[in-house]
C-alpha cells in the first residue's frame, strides 16, 4: 500500500521535486559565485569563503518552507478534486491513509536534501578551504531536511485538519498573531513578547531549526 502511495506522491510532485532538487543542488555553487563576486580576495582566503557562502542560509530557509508547503498543497488538491471519496472508500482507517500520505511526502523531501548535500560537496570543490575553517555539507543538508519537514508537517496539519478552509484558517492565525503582538506592544508587555518569541524560535522551541544561521562553511 505504502509503495503505491509513495509512487503516486512522486508522480504527482515530480515537477516541484525536480525544481527543488535543481535549486538546492545549484544553490551552494551559485551562492559562492554571486557572493564572492564583489570580494577582492582569493578563493583560498577564509574571509572570501565565508562571505561567498553567506547568502546560502536565507535561500535554503525559504526553499525549505516552500518545499513543505508545495508538496502538501499539490497532493491535497488532487485528493480533494474527488472530495476524498476514493481515499475514504479504500479499506483502511482514514487516519492510516493520512499517515501514509504524510510519510510519502516526508520521504520525498529526501530528494532535494540529497541534491543539496551533493551540490554542497560540488561547491566546496571550487574553493580551497583553509585549516582554520570547517565545512558542514552534511549538517546543512540535515538542517534543510528538518526545516522542510517542519514546514511540511505544519502545512499538512493545517490542510488535513482545516481542509478547504486552510487558507482562511492560516490568514486568521497570522492576523491573530499580528493583533496580539500589536496589543501587547501598545500595553508595554515587551518582555512578555520577547519571552514568547524566544520560546518559539530558541531550542527546544518549535521553530528552533530556523533560528540559527544555516552555514556551509564556518570557523
Amino acid at each position: 500500500m505504502f509503495t503505491q502511495i509513495l509512487w503516486t506522491q512522486l508522480k504527482w510532485t515530480r515537477i516541484p521535486l525536480a525544481v527543488l532538487a535543481v535549486v538546492t543542488f545549484a544553490a551552494p555553487a551559485l551562492a559562492w559565485r554571486l557572493g564572492a563576486a564583489g570580494y577582492q580576495g582569493a578563493a583560498s582566503e577564509p574571509m572570501a569563503i565565508m562571505v561567498g557562502f553567506s547568502a546560502i542560509g536565507t535561500v535554503l530557509m525559504v526553499t525549505a518552507c516552500l518545499a513543505g508547503f508545495v508538496l502538501v498543497a499539490h497532493v491535497w488538491n488532487l485528493d480533494a478534486a474527488a472530495k476524498h471519496v476514493y481515499a475514504l472508500s479504500l479499506p483502511l482507517p482514514w487516519s492510516r491513509f493520512v499517515a501514509m500520505r504524510f510519510g510519502a511526502g516526508a520521504l520525498s523531501l529526501l530528494i532535494p536534501t540529497l541534491a543539496l548535500w551533493l551540490g554542497s560537496l560540488f561547491a566546496l570543490m571550487m574553493v580551497q578551504v583553509p585549516p582554520t575553517l570547517h565545512t558542514y555539507a552534511g549538517t546543512l543538508a540535515l538542517r534543510f531536511l528538518l526545516g522542510a519537514l517542519l514546514a511540511y508537517a505544519l502545512s499538512f496539519l493545517l490542510q488535513y485538519v482545516a481542509g478547504r478552509r486552510a487558507s482562511a484558517v492560516l490568514l486568521v492565525l497570522l492576523l491573530s498573531g499580528v493583533v496580539v503582538t500589536f496589543v501587547l506592544s501598545v500595553l508595554g508587555y515587551t518582555r512578555l513578547l520577547d519571552t514568547i518569541g524566544h520560546a518559539i524560535v530558541e531550542w527546544p522551541g518549535p521553530l528552533a531549526v530556523f533560528a540559527r544561521d544555516w552555514k556551509l562553511v564556518d570557523v
Binding site: M1, Q4, K11, A82, S89
Partner: protein
C-alpha cells in the same frame, strides 16, 4: 441467512433542507437490491453513510456484520464500490489505477482485471482524466469487479452512459453475480433497468424509505382500480391506498398496494363496485408510490 446490510433508525441531517429520517433497511445476502428514488431523494447520502464516509447522527448500520462507521475499513475490504461520479485519481493511467487499487485488496484478481480491460476496450496507457464518461464508468466497474468483492455497492453506475455501454456494464455485472454469488446494492432512478436485474426494491423519497419489498411483489402488488360510487373513508381498507382521483361524477381511479382479488368484498360492503383492475408497469408503480408517499406527508402536515 444473515443480512448483507442492516440499517436501523438511521438519521442524518445536512442543514435545514435535507435530512435522512428514521431509515431502516435490510438487504438480504445474495440479493440484487435496487435502491430507487428520484434525484435528491437521499440515495447517495445513504450509500455514503453505509460505507462510513459520513457519520450518522443516530441509528445503527451493519454491513457484512461489521458495525459502521467504526469498522468501515473491515467492511470496505469486502465491498466493491462504484460511486456516482468518477472518484479515481485523474492523472493516473488505466494501468496505474489498476496497480494502485490492487495494492489495497488482497483478493484482487489480476487475470479478471486484464480480461475486463480487454472486454471493455480500455487501453493501459489511457489517462483517466481524458477518458469518456462511458470509459470511466467501465474502469470503475472493472476495479470493483476485479476485487472479487462479496458485496457490490453501485451508485447510479450506468447514469449518463449510452445504451451500448450500459448494456456492456450490466452484462458484466450479471455475469459476476452469477459466478460469485455476490450481493449487489444498486442505486438508480432508471426504473426499467432495475426491473431487469433486481430481486428486491427499496424506494427512497425525501430522505425516507417509503417502501421495501421483493421485486415480484412490487411488480404485481400495485394496481389501478376503477371504482364506482367510491367510499369517502378508506381507513379500514385491507390494502394501502396510494392515490385516488375522480374520473367522472361517480367513478374514481384508485392506486392501491397489496391488492388481492378477494378484497373486492370490502368495496361491496361499502356500497361500491370495482369495475376494472389494471396492472401498472414498474415505472407507473414507482411514480404512484412516490405520489402516495408525498400525499401522506402532506396530509400529516
Amino acid at each position: 441467512m444473515t443480512d448483507a446490510i442492516r440499517i436501523r433508525d438511521l438519521a442524518w441531517r445536512a442543514g435545514p433542507d435535507f435530512a435522512i429520517r428514521a431509515l431502516s433497511m435490510t438487504v438480504p445476502t445474495g440479493s440484487i437490491y435496487g435502491f430507487l428514488g428520484p434525484n435528491g431523494s437521499g440515495k447517495t447520502t445513504t450509500i455514503r453513510l453505509m460505507l462510513g464516509m459520513l457519520p450518522p447522527a443516530d441509528g445503527t448500520i451493519e454491513v457484512l456484520s461489521h458495525a459502521i462507521p467504526r469498522f468501515a475499513h473491515r467492511a470496505l475490504a469486502r465491498i466493491g464500490f462504484v460511486p456516482e461520479r468518477l472518484h479515481l485519481y485523474q492523472s493516473l493511467t488505466v494501468d496505474e489505477a489498476i496497480r494502485f487499487h490492487r495494492a489495497f485488496y488482497p483478493t484482487f484478481d489480476d487475470a479478471e482485471a486484464e480480461r475486463l480491460r480487454g472486454r471493455f476496450g480500455l487501453r493501459e496507457d489511457q489517462v483517466i482524466g481524458r477518458l469518456s464518461k462511458g470509459e470511466a464508468g467501465k474502469l470503475m466497474m472493472l476495479l470493483a469487479l476485479s476485487q472479487r468483492a462479496e458485496l457490490l455497492v453501485l451508485d447510479e453506475p450506468t447514469d449518463g452512459l449510452d445504451p451500448v455501454v450500459r448494456r456492456e456494464v450490466l452484462a458484466a455485472l450479471v455475469e459476476y453475480v452469477e459466478s460469485q454469488r455476490a450481493t449487489v446494492f444498486i442505486s438508480s432512478h432508471l426504473v426499467h433497468e432495475q426491473e431487469r436485474i433486481c430481486d428486491w426494491v427499496g424506494v427512497m423519497d425525501g430522505g425516507r424509505l417509503i417502501a421495501e419489498l421483493p421485486m415480484q411483489e412490487f411488480r404485481s402488488g400495485i394496481k389501478r382500480l376503477r371504482v364506482a360510487q367510491a367510499p369517502t373513508v378508506h381507513d379500514a381498507a385491507p390494502f394501502a391506498l396510494l392515490s385516488r382521483e375522480a374520473v367522472t361524477l361517480h367513478d374514481e381511479n384508485w392506486v392501491v398496494r397489496g391488492w388481492q382479488p378477494a378484497m373486492q368484498e370490502w368495496f361491496q360492503r361499502a356500497g361500491s363496485e370495482v369495475r376494472a383492475v389494471q396492472d401498472l408497469d414498474l415505472e407507473d408503480s414507482f411514480v404512484e408510490l412516490l405520489r402516495g408517499a408525498r400525499g401522506t406527508v402532506e396530509e400529516r402536515r
